[in-house]
Symmetry: C2
Subunit: 143 residues, 2 copies
């Protein structure tokens, strides 16, 4: 089982925005801090904006910031949006009777997985760790 | 999040063997019932044999059968073997302080996922469903 890179980018983008809030963050900063391609991040930031998690400010001096407080965004809700098959589990199961028990078992396991992620917010995974700010070169005063 | 086809093949192979136990099953039968490539299944059956889940009988009239009762094999133990990163979660986390909270969250979620699968055996996902035998064309007496 692997989560997609896209989920990883989305969470890191939100964490970065949480860390710098309420300042605007540039895609370039996230790309450099995490060694992620700028192109992939632009797409991710765009989607997070459409979903209402980021305010995107265009133009020179622009960037993005959290549109909602970090403590109101759960990891689970992000993963449901970024991972296929999580919002609507096992549509294939219909009409395939020999899959029913197997699918039901994995649906239950997936619910347990998401249940844990629903109990953690972007704030939880971003803060409570002094090393985090240092690792991102943000241990000085907030910009 | 997607489980690999390999996990899917392994579970279906074990379910098929459980259903036909103690008769020998041919790879060809599983391949046809599930529309899976024979080549992929041969590899899977070989590994399940090495891990002690199947007895493989070579030669004409050969095949495979469960080496252990279906009720003693959990879905969780199979998935830990067939999915990368489940036996030894997040080795990448070491030395990457900004990943620590994110990793810990996903490790907890993964433990919950596997916890559910540990409570279900091959027997559980194979039987208790009359439709299963019919779907596999096995609704007659056991061979």
């Amino acid at each position: 089982m692997r989560l997609t890179s896209y989920t990883n980018y989305a969470l890191r983008t939100l964490m970065f925005a949480a860390l710098d809030a309420p300042a605007l963050v540039r895609v370039q900063d996230v790309a450099e801090a995490h060694g992620i391609s700028r192109t992939h991040l632009v797409k991710c930031v765009h989607h997070l904006g459409q979903w209402g998690y980021l305010d995107n400010v265009r133009g020179r001096g622009g960037g993005f910031r959290l549109a909602r407080p970090a403590e109101t965004i759960t990891v689970g809700e992000i993963v449901r949006r970024t991972e296929e098959g999580f919002a609507d589990p096992s549509p294939d199961a219909v009409g395939d009777p020999d899959d029913r028990l197997l699918d039901a078992t994995f649906e239950r396991a997936q619910a347990a997985f998401l249940g844990v992620l629903d109990r953690h917010t972007i704030r939880d995974i971003t803060f409570n760790d002094a090393d985090l700010r240092a690792a991102l070169g943000l241990d000085g005063p907030l910009r």
